[in-house]
Amino acid sequence: MKLRHAGVPDSARVPRAARGGWMGRTLVALALFAVIGPFLWILTASFKQQIAIYAGQFPFAPTLANYAEVLFGRRSDFVGNIGNSLAVASISTLAVLVVGSLAAYSLHRFRWPVWVSAGFLGWTLAFHMVPVLTLLGPWYIAFRELGLYDTRAALVLTHVTVNLPMTVWLMSAFLREIPPEVEEAARVDGCTPLQAFLRVVLPLAVPGLIAAGILAFIFSWNEFPIALTLTSRQTATVPVAVARFAQQYETQHAQMAAASIISTIPAVLLMLLGQRFIVRGLMMGSVK
C-alpha cells in the first residue's frame, strides 16, 4: 500500500490520476481572491489614519503611526501580550496534541467497553456544546482558590480542555484511515504498543496531526472569553489586547487593524515552523 508521506516533493506526490483540471485551478484562484481580499483590506487599513478609514479613502496617505502606537505606545503592552499568546498557544497545542492523540489511539486501537469509549467521546462532545461563558464563573472561582488566577498556566489548562474534544475526534477520524495491517506488521516485528504508536502510527497520521495542531493553535491563539476572565494586564493575550480598541463609543479601527496584522505574523511563523518540527521529529523515528 503506497501511502503519502510528508517530506516527499509535491510533484512526485500527486500522480496523474489525482491531478486537478482547470476547474479546480479556477476554484482555487477564486477562493484565494475571496479569502485574501478582506485580509488585504485590513492590511491597507492598518496603514491609514482613522479618518482615512472612516471616509474610505483610496488612494490615501500612508502612515506607520498605528503600528508605532500598538507596538511602542506608552499604554501598550502588545509585545508582552504577543509573548503571552505565543507561550500559551504553543504549550497548550503541544499538550492537547499529546493528550488528544494518546486518548484517540487508546479508544481506537484497544478494546474498551462501550460505556467507556462512547462515554468519553460523548462527554467531550457534550462539553463542546456548552457555551463557554457559562463555564467562566466556576473556573474563575476555582483558579482563584488555587492561586492560579492571572497566570498563563490557568490559560494553558483551560485551553487544553476546551480544545480536547476536537483534537480527540479529529485524531480518531485520521487514525481510522491507517490500515490495521501496518500496525499488525509492527507488532509481529516485536514492537511494544508504545513503540508501534510512536514509530509507525504517528508518522502515518502526520497530516492529521498537522491539521489538528493548526486548529488547536489557532483556537488557543484567538481565544477571547476565557483569557479575558482569567487574566489581567500582564498576562493578557493578543485577543484581549485587540479588544481594547473596541471602546465604549467607537472603535479605533486603525490601531485594531495594525494589531490584527501584527498578531497574524507570529502565528503564521510558528505554524510553519511547528509543521516542520512535527514532520521532522516524527520522521526521524519512523519505520517504513
Partner: protein
C-alpha cells in the same frame, strides 16, 4: 517625523501639566499610602486619566496600578472581583447602569465607613445622585442615602452642529426638537449631506438617545420609582409624540441605514463632514479636533440638547462611578479613598480637563479653562447638567433596556407602529415589575 513630534508633544503636555499644577492652588496632601490597583475600561478618555494618575504618583510618591480592560469585559471583571472574597482591585470604575446591581448586592464599602471625614466637595456635580444608595427605598438619592461612589467621568450628549452650514442656510442653532426637524429638512441632501444623525441601533443605542427626547416631551418610563410606584407610563401620548418625532428625524434626515446607526457611525458621519448636525457624547469632541480622526477640525460647535414642545429640556446622564469593593484590604481601601480625595480637588480636575478628560467640578467649568478653544464644549455641558437625569435606576434596568431597545428599534424600522411598540413594551415591562413584586400598573393602551 510625526512620531517624533508626538513624543515631544507628550513630554510637553506632561511638563505643562506639572508646571500648571504648581502654579495653581495646591493639590491635596494625602500622605504616604500603600499601592492600589484600579480597574478601568479602555475608553477614549483613558489616556487623560492615565496622565492624571501619573501626576498623582509624581506628587505623592504613592503607586497606582491601572488594569485597563476592554469595555466589553468590564462588567464581568468587576463582578468576578467582588464575588470571590478577596478583591484584586481597590477601586473600580463602573458604568451607571451597573451601579444598582453592585449597590443592592452589598458588594461595596460605603465611602464614609472607610473614612468618616471623607466629604464630597460641594463643587462636584451631582450627576443625578448616582453615587448615593438608599437601601429602604431601593433608589439612588442623597436623601437618606449612603455615599457609595463618586463620578469619575460624566458623559452627557450634546447637540453638535456645523455653524458654517447653518449660517449658509440662514438657520440659528436649534433650541427645540421642532427646530431641529425644520433645520434638518433644509440641510439634508442625501447622499452628500445628512441633516441630522442620531442613533437608531437596537438596544442601548436607540434607548439612550430616544430617552432624551422622551424627557423633553415630559414623558417617563415609570411613574414614581423613588416613591415605590412602578406604574408603567411608557405608553403615554407624550411618549408617542416623542417617538414619532424621533422616527421622523431618523427617516427624513439620516442615512438609509438609520436602523443600525451606533455611536461610532454617528461620529463617523460627522467627522467625515457628511452630517450637518448630530447627537453625540461629549467625550467625542476631542476626536473631532484631531486631524488624524476628523475632516472637520475646528468646524463643529456644541449646544445643549433641545427642548420639547412644552419648553422642557431633556438629557440622559451616562457616567462612570468610582466604587470601592468591600473585600479589598483595609489599608488599600483607605489608600483608594485618599487617591479619590486627591482626584476630586479643583487642581486635579483642571489637570484632567487639560489632558483631555471631562472634569466633574463646576468651578472648573466656570474658570478660565472654558475659554480655551479645545474646551469650547464646556458651556453646553454645564448647561446640560441643570436638567440631565439618570434613567433606569432600578434593578430591572438591564431588562427594561432590552425591552425598550428592541421595541423602539422595531418601530423605527417600520416593523410595527409607534403606538404598538410602546404598548408592547409597556406590557412587557409591567409583567417584569409584577414578577419582581413591585407595585405596578399600566396606562390605557395607545391607539395602534
Amino acid at each position: 517625523m510625526r512620531q517624533f513630534l508626538r513624543i515631544i508633544a507628550v513630554f510637553a503636555t506632561t511638563a505643562g501639566l506639572s508646571l500648571g499644577a504648581a502654579a495653581q492652588q495646591p493639590f491635596a496632601d494625602v500622605g504616604k499610602q500603600p499601592p492600589i490597583t484600579i480597574l478601568v475600561a479602555s475608553t477614549p478618555w483613558y489616556p487623560a486619566f492615565e496622565k492624571v494618575v501619573g501626576l498623582y504618583e509624581q506628587q505623592t510618591g504613592n503607586q497606582v496600578k491601572l488594569d485597563t480592560t476592554p469595555f466589553g469585559g468590564m462588567l464581568e471583571k468587576a463582578r468576578n472581583a467582588v464575588r470571590t472574597g478577596k478583591s484584586p482591585y481597590d477601586l473600580m470604575f463602573i458604568d451607571t447602569q451597573w451601579t444598582i446591581e453592585f449597590y443592592e448586592g452589598g458588594f461595596l464599602a460605603p465611602l464614609k465607613e472607610i473614612d468618616p471625614t471623607f466629604d464630597m466637595p460641594k463643587e462636584v456635580l451631582t450627576y443625578g445622585d448616582s453615587g448615593y444608595w438608599n437601601a429602604q427605598k431601593r433608589w439612588r438619592t442623597a436623601d437618606g442615602g449612603k455615599l457609595m461612589a463618586y463620578t469619575v467621568l460624566g458623559n452627557v450628549q450634546l447637540l453638535y452642529y456645523r455653524p458654517d452650514l447653518l449660517k449658509q442656510a440662514g438657520i440659528a442653532p436649534p433650541k427645540t426638537w421642532a427646530e431641529v426637524a425644520a433645520a434638518c429638512a433644509r440641510l439634508t441632501d442625501p447622499p452628500k449631506m445628512y441633516g441630522f444623525v442620531v442613533r437608531g441601533e437596537k438596544g442601548n443605542g436607540i434607548r439612550y438617545d430616544w430617552q432624551s427626547v422622551m424627557l423633553a416631551e415630559g414623558a417617563s418610563v415609570v411613574k414614581d420609582p423613588a416613591g415605590g410606584d412602578y406604574t408603567v407610563t411608557i405608553n403615554s401620548p407624550q411618549a408617542k409624540a416623542a417617538l414619532d418625532l424621533y422616527i421622523d428625524l431618523l427617516k427624513r434626515c439620516g442615512p438609509p441605514n438609520y436602523g443600525t446607526l451606533g455611536q461610532g457611525d454617528v461620529i463617523q458621519l460627522l467627522a467625515t463632514g457628511k452630517a450637518a448636525m448630530g447627537d453625540v457624547v461629549t467625550a467625542a469632541f476631542a476626536s473631532f479636533e484631531d486631524p488624524a480622526k476628523s475632516l472637520v477640525v475646528g468646524k463643529l460647535e456644541t449646544v445643549a440638547l433641545p427642548a420639547g414642545r412644552g419648553g422642557v429640556f431633556g438629557a440622559v446622564i451616562g457616567n462612570w462611578n468610582a466604587v470601592i469593593p468591600k473585600d479589598a484590604p483595609e489599608a488599600q481601601k483607605k489608600a483608594a479613598l485618599a487617591f479619590s480625595r486627591w482626584f476630586l480637588t479643583s487642581a486635579a480636575q483642571r489637570a484632567f480637563a487639560q489632558a483631555g478628560g471631562i472634569p466633574n467640578r463646576s468651578d472648573v467649568y466656570t474658570s478660565d479653562l472654558a475659554k480655551e478653544p479645545r474646551l469650547r464644549w464646556m458651556p453646553a455641558y454645564l448647561e446640560t447638567q441643570k436638567f440631565a437625569k439618570q434613567e433606569l435606576g432600578y434593578a430591572e434596568g438591564a431588562q427594561v433596556e432590552q425591552i425598550l431597545g428592541l421595541r423602539l428599534n422595531q418601530a423605527a424600522i417600520g416593523e410595527m407602529s409607534s403606538g404598538k411598540a410602546l404598548n408592547t413594551a409597556a406590557k412587557e415591562i409591567e409583567e417584569l415589575f409584577g414578577k419582581n413584586g413591585r407595585k405596578t400598573g399600566a396606562l390605557p393602551p395607545l391607539p395602534e
